[in-house]
Point group: none
Chain length 132, copies 4
């Protein structure tokens, strides 16, 4: 994934957040979980900065959306404590895997700062963008 | 928030703790979660020092009292694992948001060392002080 | 500082990097050292990601460019070991304080990935942008 | 050392800082290096918060002022790298040991935010206070 694509993802996520009337932090990581681009919208709670990054990190490290990761990495799930590995992962929605047209994982987007439902909607709206 | 106001909050919290006959640690942070003032009362358990800071930090980073944060960052809440972000947050009461007369977040107070009920009562008694 | 201003700083820094023919990571933090915006240009070494953030953090926490910080936090400087506080600071150039028209500190920009000279030139070119 | 004494040390340090026209962070730790009281004066750079604590911690852990510690924990000193133990120590002045009337170590005070000379002067002025 190139920076130009990451920037278009940020832009799409920001538009969806504006449309929903919420203020969020948005993190894009590459397929190796390294940060590519980040923005914090005006008014977003400070605690959401790291959460947006950890959601993206969780999604790409296990190649599944953080909402799906939450089902297994939970006291009632099959891999309880998995959320405590890799520097701390995020067991709730808002981290979404980004795939290329061939289905390969290109990276992930993480959104935090609004309700979990809105965070997920924003991340999905961006991820639905066609790859450049 | 200025130091003079933080000092009056410490004083109010300490009076309430004396009134309840308990010994606590009290931390005040600003709106960006940076420490402003701190005291540990004689006899307070050492473990409460960091807890008082993390309660204040939790409250201000998510702009909600740590007792409310506890409801969402819990294995049965909607944001399980959120307590593991931002260096570790505190999912029980005793961290209270401080607001200005216009409703804006000025910082937070965190109290630890007594029962959670008393910690909350002390933090609220201080937070009820009028802003300088 | 608002996101719109942080984005214009990123854009100015990126243009200068393109002009110099180098690829860098660029971090913008607010006056309390919280991340506002970040990009990593295509081809930038991965190690530069955190360095760009630490340069910006160093500049804002001590309200001096990281090139000046380097003079004091050095074995021969007056504050040797200062670079080991606050989670690790950066004792070389590329972190530049951002000031408003009234001279107050608004935040900082950190650039890493090219030579220190180029990193500094890129950060300064962006910081010279008029505040929105 | 009791909180009442720590508070009188904070007050004496703050008066000296006002007298010198500087704004600093002031940390008091007990003989076991645990925080007792802390204030950040209005306008103090944020980076000084942790430094004030590390100066006090350094002084009490090695029972010597941090200005003396700097002579040994330095690339040219006899214990180079000692500054990297105990979570990171501070090899420059501003941390001063607090002794009781019998000469025993009661704790330490750390001051940061002004010039190293002023930081030292403020810490010494407070430490010269008679123990309660």
């Amino acid at each position: 994934m190139q920076l130009s694509h990451a920037m278009s993802l940020l832009s799409a996520a920001r538009s969806e957040a504006d449309h929903l009337g919420v203020s969020v932090s948005i993190s894009i990581v590459d397929a190796a979980a390294w940060p590519m681009a980040f923005i914090r919208m005006d008014g977003c709670p400070l605690g959401a900065i790291e959460v947006s990054h950890k959601k993206a990190r969780t999604a790409v490290l296990f190649q599944m959306d953080s909402a799906d990761f939450a089902k297994i990495a939970h006291p009632d799930g099959g891999a309880y404590s998995l959320e405590n590995t890799n520097g701390g992962l995020t067991s709730f929605g808002g981290g979404v895997v980004l795939k290329g047209t061939d289905g390969s994982v290109m990276g992930a987007i993480g959104v935090s700062g609004a309700s979990t439902e809105d965070d997920i909607a924003i991340a999905r709206a961006a991820a639905a963008q066609p790859a450049a």
